[in-house]
């Protein structure tokens, strides 16, 4: 290896290494990753261990508007005029998802938890509802409003007529006519039912009612004036102003019917919100990636970008320490086996073969099964997995170096074994050990992350890439970013280590093969 050129061996190495473009690029990226790891805790935009909502105030960010929803409400009267309404009865079907409050003709919705729910607004006999999603997946549309089209003018006694019913869904679909509504009702109300059943422990009492929800329910407020059949046929019976109320589940509306008398002042027939569907961000977890949070926030609303940065240090630490321990132990045992040979060699080689025959992950899991879960034990498990590879490499080089003339010369003049190993053999195998050290760090990071992911790392709140993946895996079906970004960080780091290791190998020892 070491040629007798005028250059020092290190400069020779540098000259060769510079030709490996990929490895050089990987090397500089790795330097960048190291610096990030070192600087990590100071350059994170947010504290990686606390929810961002707690930190908005100290950073001077006002997020209230994006987190709470506001909807304008107007009332529609029977003569078609639109008036502002007040003193609404407001109710959020699931208070664990959101709360509502009213002020000056608009309602304010504040999310509490996650999921889909409905907000019911009622005044007298008229009720509408809106659909509310908080950081939830798409849920089926719900029925939001009903409208009855009554006869325009006066009605005579004895007249029988049908009222035109119109229903509006949260996805702005209009269903017109009794039959159309009824055929669509099953799915629409079924969705409602699912929502109300998620509603924790209080459903039992409501259950019966929710089964009736599927019905279109007609009712006359004054039986002397008008009578109505269950399918909406109205019969005018006596003089006066009657009202027919129709309801499906909690949503209802009325229509005034004037029989042989003139219509008096209009009544409220519909409560119309400016939006029938509102989607909000949960202020406690899982914000989408945005300019404010580049990688989004996780299930505890911690900034993922900050956590990935802060995790660099710990992830690299696991990789380095475990490979370091494994390399030291492996090199020692390999030297023993290679230099002394005989029975030491055969025992160590046999054990190495057994360990090498096992897939790394199984070996590591077995170690963790003995030691128990925990970050320190993961480091140890990865080290155990690294040892046999180093034993094998070091033993091979020791066997070769032992036969070198300079080693034999040293032996013949009575130099101690210890000195020979330290001064003559160890330096000779350093290049090979260095190559494998770099290549193994990538593998160690992968293995450590896999163990963390399996839940064997103990603490999953730590900002460490594997632990972040483990913590995010339960929600990975709904949100991609809590798993995507830590994973990309792992891939980038490991690719760089592998490319760098490849380049190092090609420079130092082109004969080596993985």
């Amino acid at each position: 290896m070491k040629s007798q050129n005028t250059h020092s061996p290190f400069q020779l190495f540098l000259k060769k290494f510079k030709k490996q473009t990929m490895a050089v690029v990987a090397f500089w990226i790795l330097i960048g990753i190291f610096l990030l790891g070192l600087a990590g805790p100071w350059i994170t935009p947010y504290d990686p261990n606390r929810p961002v909502t707690e930190q908005y105030e100290e950073k001077g960010i006002d997020k209230t508007k994006e987190l709470t929803g506001s909807i304008q409400i107007s009332g529609i009267m029977s003569d078609g005029t639109e008036l502002p309404v007040s003193e609404l009865m407001l109710q959020s079907t699931n208070r664990q998802i959101s709360t509502v409050s009213e002020s000056n003709g608009s309602i304010t919705i504040t999310p509490v938890g996650q999921g889909s729910t409905t907000v019911l607004m009622a005044k007298g006999d008229v009720a509408s509802q809106i659909k509310l999603d908080v950081s939830a997946e798409d849920s089926p549309p719900i029925l939001t409003q009903l409208l009855l089209q009554g006869p325009a003018g006066m009605v005579k006694k004895g007249d029988i007529f049908q009222l035109d019913l119109e229903a509006r869904l949260s996805n702005d679909v209009k269903l017109i006519g009794f039959e159309q509504i009824r055929s669509n009702l099953k799915q629409v109300v079924g969705a409602n039912k699912a929502v109300s059943q998620e509603n924790n422990g209080f459903v039992t009492a409501k259950k019966k009612q929710s089964e009736e929800d599927g019905q279109i329910h007609y009712q006359s407020t004054d039986e002397k004036v008008v009578r109505v059949t269950p399918d909406g046929m109205v019969t005018a019976l006596g003089q006066g102003i009657g009202q027919v109320k129709v309801s499906i589940g909690p949503v209802s509306t009325i229509v005034p019917i004037a029989v042989e008398t003139s219509m008096q002042e209009p009544v409220l027939v519909q409560i119309q919100p400016s939006q029938t569907h509102i989607a909000l961000m949960d202020n406690r977890k899982h914000q989408q990636p945005s300019l404010l949070h580049w990688f989004g926030t996780d299930h505890q609303n911690r900034d993922i970008f900050s956590r990935v940065l802060a995790g660099t240090r710990e992830t690299l630490f696991i990789g380095f320490v475990s490979v370091g321990i494994g390399a030291v132990i492996g090199t020692l045992l390999g030297l023993l086996a290679g230099y002394y040979g005989r029975w030491i060699d055969s025992i160590i080689t046999r054990l190495t073969d057994i360990l090498l025959a096992f897939p790394g992950i199984l070996l590591a899991i077995a170690v963790i099964a003995v030691l128990g879960a925990g970050m320190v034990n993961i480091i140890f498990a990865v080290a155990v997995f690294t040892v046999p590879i180093f034993i094998r490499i070091v033993r091979g080089s020791a066997l070769a170096l032992k036969q070198m003339t300079y080693v034999e010369a040293a032996k013949s003049i009575g130099v101690q074994d210890f000195v020979i190993i330290i001064r003559h053999i160890l330096p000779g195998m350093l290049p090979v050990v260095m190559v494998y050290l770099t290549m193994r760090i990538g593998t160690a990071i992968l293995l450590g992350a896999a163990l963390s992911f399996l839940g064997l790392g103990g603490d999953i709140t730590a900002p460490e890439w594997g632990a972040m993946l483990s913590a995010a895996k339960d929600n990975s079906r709904n949100f991609f970013y809590p798993t995507f970004f830590p994973g990309i960080a792992i891939v980038l780091t490991v690719v760089c280590f592998n490319l760098f290791g490849d380049g190092l190998r090609d420079t130092l020892d082109p004969k080596l093969k993985e």
């Binding site: 046999r350 057994i354 897939p359 992950i361 899991i365 099964a369 879960a373 592998n498």
Partner: protein
């Protein structure tokens, strides 16, 4: 040949003994009292001693080991602490799932790996070769559980083409097997490439070229036959690794195989299950390695074992 196989099998016996001792000592090595784990921590001393005596924990270790050996040789791996079911039944139920997943993964790995490997070797130093090398390095660096999660997110959640987890149909098998096979395909591709490159330097290839045969003919008739022998060995070894290494992927896709059983039992400190699985994986490994070695010497008569 027969002598070689016989020798190999004899050579496995000491390893098997070591593994059985390790898996037996497992219960004694791990922190925590197995009896308390099995029957709950609240237990008065008298019952505790009785249970301990019943289980034979008072006997000297070698007596206990003898009993353990007798049990496992008759196929009895004890009763799970956690589910109170027979461990051997549970393993029997799950083994086929892991095997099926492994075969499917190997199928993808071979298809992708061989095509990419042969192509990059045949077009050496072309842009495609470069891309092949870089992408195999990248693929090896991708954590398979993360890749699985991303596949699941894309094809199962966003597009809804496949179920996210579970087992039973071909659709269930597709995503986990692709996840598992993807990483292996990169290893096989690299290996195939270097193996084909090596054979391309042989004399008989030069002769064929001198005769003026077309390159594709040379690759298909002369090179592949020789280059694939080490690839077959490699594939066998990878198959062995996959059988045990499916742990993570099985966990991601809730695949009811041996790997997820292992993780469940480690997390629940279910000693009998852990013991049985570690033993099983080791034996499985030894057998796969043996088969690989035998097949290697069968395919390539030039290889002679001492």
């Amino acid at each position: 040949m027969a002598r070689y196989i016989f020798g190999r099998i004899l050579g496995m016996i000491p390893i098997l003994v070591i593994i059985s001792i390790l898996s037996f000592l497992f219960v004694h090595l791990t922190p925590g009292d197995p009896i308390r784990i099995m029957y709950g921590a609240e237990m008065d001393m008298a019952t505790y001693e009785k249970v301990k005596a019943n289980l034979g924990f008072h006997d000297p270790l070698y007596v206990q080991y003898g009993r353990y050996l007798q049990q496992i040789l008759s196929g009895d791996f004890g009763v799970s602490y956690k589910t109170k079911t027979n461990v051997s039944d549970e393993i029997g139920k799950r083994f086929l799932y892991t095997l099926g997943l492994t075969f499917a993964a190997m199928f993808w790995a071979l298809i992708i790996g061989l095509v990419v490997g042969i192509y990059s070797a045949a077009r050496r130093k072309s842009i495609w070769d470069r891309i092949g090398i870089i992408s195999t390095t990248t693929i090896i660096s991708i954590p398979e559980f993360w890749f699985g999660l991303m596949l699941m997110q894309m094809f199962a959640v966003q597009l809804g083409w496949f179920p996210t987890s579970g087992s039973g149909t071909f659709a269930h098998l597709l995503l986990p097997s692709i996840t598992l096979g993807f990483g292996v395909s990169a290893i096989i591709a690299r290996f195939t490439r270097s193996s084909v490159l090596e054979v391309l330097q042989e004399d008989f290839v030069r002769t064929a070229k001198a005769k003026g045969q077309r390159e594709s003919v040379i690759i298909w008739t002369h090179v592949l036959r020789n280059a694939l022998i080490p690839v077959i060995t490699m594939t066998g070894l990878q198959f062995g690794f996959l059988l045990g290494g499916a742990v993570v992927v099985e966990q991601v896709f809730s695949w009811p195989g041996l790997g997820s059983y292992l993780i469940d039992s480690v997390l629940a400190r279910d000693y009998p299950a852990m013991q049985a699985l570690i033993l099983l994986f080791s034996v499985q490994f030894l057998i796969v390695n043996l088969l690989v070695d035998i097949s290697y010497s069968l395919v390539n008569p030039q290889i002679r074992y001492e």
